[in-house]
């Protein structure tokens, strides 16, 4: 698999506070890549840098091109969904297509298909406040996927959900990922979630964060959370995080 994103000698300061210190890693095309680390270590900041929402020192290359500012080739899915409350489901999903200048009927057609893929058919005309947390996250995912981004950036997307919905959404996420074959960079604070979802997991240290390790997960999908191999990887990550 070829490299799609490479991060070299990346540094980030907030004033005098050094948050990210000499971060180096690369992401392969089509893989599900997770970032974990102690809370407050700068995982989200790292993702926001890749999204183009933060300044930084160093190099971030997407397919060899330096990233400058945000763009629809790297769509971000936020922890609190950030759905536009004044737009109903379908018009939230068409947003990225509208700003690209696509014709209305084409964008509606694509949005309907994507809404079907994320399992929300029948809810097209609902407004965000009428939806549950899991449904909102599906809308946010559909809104990102219709842009057909090179990278899908997800910032703890399931952390606001209850435990039951969270497990369901992990399975859904796998189903959608396998169907759309997107490269995903996924920030989470849950080791178990990272192991369930990822091809590879980047482990960050405490602030100022450095790369501790990149752990490869070779388990077959769908993964069994109760298998010995699964537990073994979780344990390994757990000790890395200490």
């Amino acid at each position: 698999m070829s490299e799609i994103l490479s991060v070299k000698r990346l540094k980030k300061k907030f004033g005098d506070l050094l948050v990210l210190d000499d971060i180096n890693f690369s992401v392969r095309e089509g893989e599900f890549f997770s970032i974990i680390g102690p809370s407050g270590c700068g995982k989200t900041t790292l993702l926001r840098i890749i999204a183009g929402l933060e300044s930084f020192e160093g190099e971030v290359l997407l397919k060899g091109r330096e990233i400058r500012g945000p763009g629809a080739d790297r769509v971000m899915v936020f922890q609190d969904y950030a759905l536009f409350p004044w737009r109903n489901v379908i018009r939230n999903v068409t947003f990225g297509l509208e700003v690209k200048g696509m014709r209305k009927d084409d964008s509606l057609k694509i949005a309907r298909e994507m809404i079907k893929i994320v399992g929300l058919s029948g809810f097209e005309e609902k407004y965000p406040h009428e939806l549950s947390g899991g449904m909102k996250q599906r809308v946010a995912l559909a809104r990102a996927l219709v842009c057909d981004p090179e990278l899908l950036l997800m910032d703890e997307p399931l952390s606001a959900l209850d435990a039951q919905t969270r497990l369901e959404m992990q399975e859904e996420l796998m189903r959608i990922w396998q169907k759309t074959k997107k490269t995903v960079i996924y920030v989470t604070h849950s080791i178990e979630e990272a192991v369930y979802l990822s091809d590879r997991i980047l482990v960050l240290s405490k602030r100022p964060a450095k790369v501790k390790d990149v752990v490869e997960v070779f388990l077959e999908r769908p993964r069994n959370r109760f298998s010995a191999e699964f537990a073994e990887i979780c344990l390994k990550l757990h000790s890395l995080l200490k």
Binding site: P70, R74, A82, W86, E130
Partner: protein, 255 residues
């Protein structure tokens, strides 16, 4: 609830009537509802030789819409600019802060000197009264747009102009509408003040003063009643408009 509305109106009319017969008892100073309502009916339907309410309503609404529509256009666009650009805000806010506390009535002499006794002078006073509430509410609506919506739009590929049209304006819309409703209320109150000085031979505010000179309190009160009713209807109109334009807020706000 409907029954309570009717009861409250009847109690009000009852005390008004009693008040007249106990304390005043002079038809040249004040009138009870039993006299006001027949008068209201007469001037509404053209049975009165000196006063014709529909014409006055049309003139007053004309002044109102003239002044208020300019206030909305200017207030919303300046408010958007001020909320959107810190530089523009810094440039214009000192002027606004000094002009804002000057009551619309204080502008009347200048309006008459510059514009003479014209419809434009009345519209100008109404504009002054309603411009600031529209401006201030629009500005705060824009300044309070949540950053997460702007960031979400940016990562979805939105350009600056998209963000203004598709994120900032819709997100500030509830606040803009609050400005429009408050501004409309002030504008309608300014109509009376603006017309008192005789900018035209019609208008609710003008006739109310003429009726006083005639010593006809029943006519004065009829005009007051119609000013209240129309102000109420205007507010209703904006509420309904707001409600149908912003379906997405249903269930989010307790009305």
């Amino acid at each position: 609830m409907k029954a309570l509305t009717v009861v409250s109106i009847f109690i009000f009319l009852f005390f008004w009537e009693i008040f007249y017969w106990i304390f005043i008892k002079d038809p040249f100073l004040f009138s009870p509802p039993s006299r006001v309502f027949p008068t209201f009916f007469n001037i509404m339907t053209g049975r009165d030789p000196s006063f014709y309410l529909p014409a006055d309503i049309i003139y007053s609404l004309y002044h109102y819409f003239h002044g208020f529509s300019v206030a909305v256009m200017l207030g919303v666009s300046l408010g958007l600019l001020m909320g959107y650009s810190k530089k523009f805000e810094a440039l214009i806010s000192p002027i606004i802060e000094i002009l804002r506390p000057i009551p619309p009535i204080a502008w009347i002499p200048i309006a008459i000197l510059l514009l003479k006794l014209t419809h434009a002078a009345a519209a100008f006073i109404i504009f002054i009264g309603s411009f600031f509430p529209v401006l201030i509410n629009t500005r705060s609506g824009v300044a309070n747009v949540e950053i997460k919506y702007i960031e979400a739009a940016m990562t979805l590929g939105a350009k600056k102009s998209d963000i203004l049209r598709k994120v900032v304006i819709p997100s500030a819309m509830p606040s803009i509408f609050t400005g429009i409703r408050v501004g409309s209320g002030v504008a309608w109150m300014c109509v009376v003040a603006a017309e008192l000085f005789g900018v035209s031979a019609y208008g609710l505010g003008y006739q109310i003063e003429i009726a006083r000179l005639y010593h006809a309190p029943e006519v004065v009160l009829s005009y007051m009643l119609s000013i209240g009713l129309i102000g109420f209807l205007l507010d209703r109109f904006y509420r309904i408009l707001e409600h149908s334009l912003m379906k997405w807020r249903r269930g989010l706000v307790v009305e």
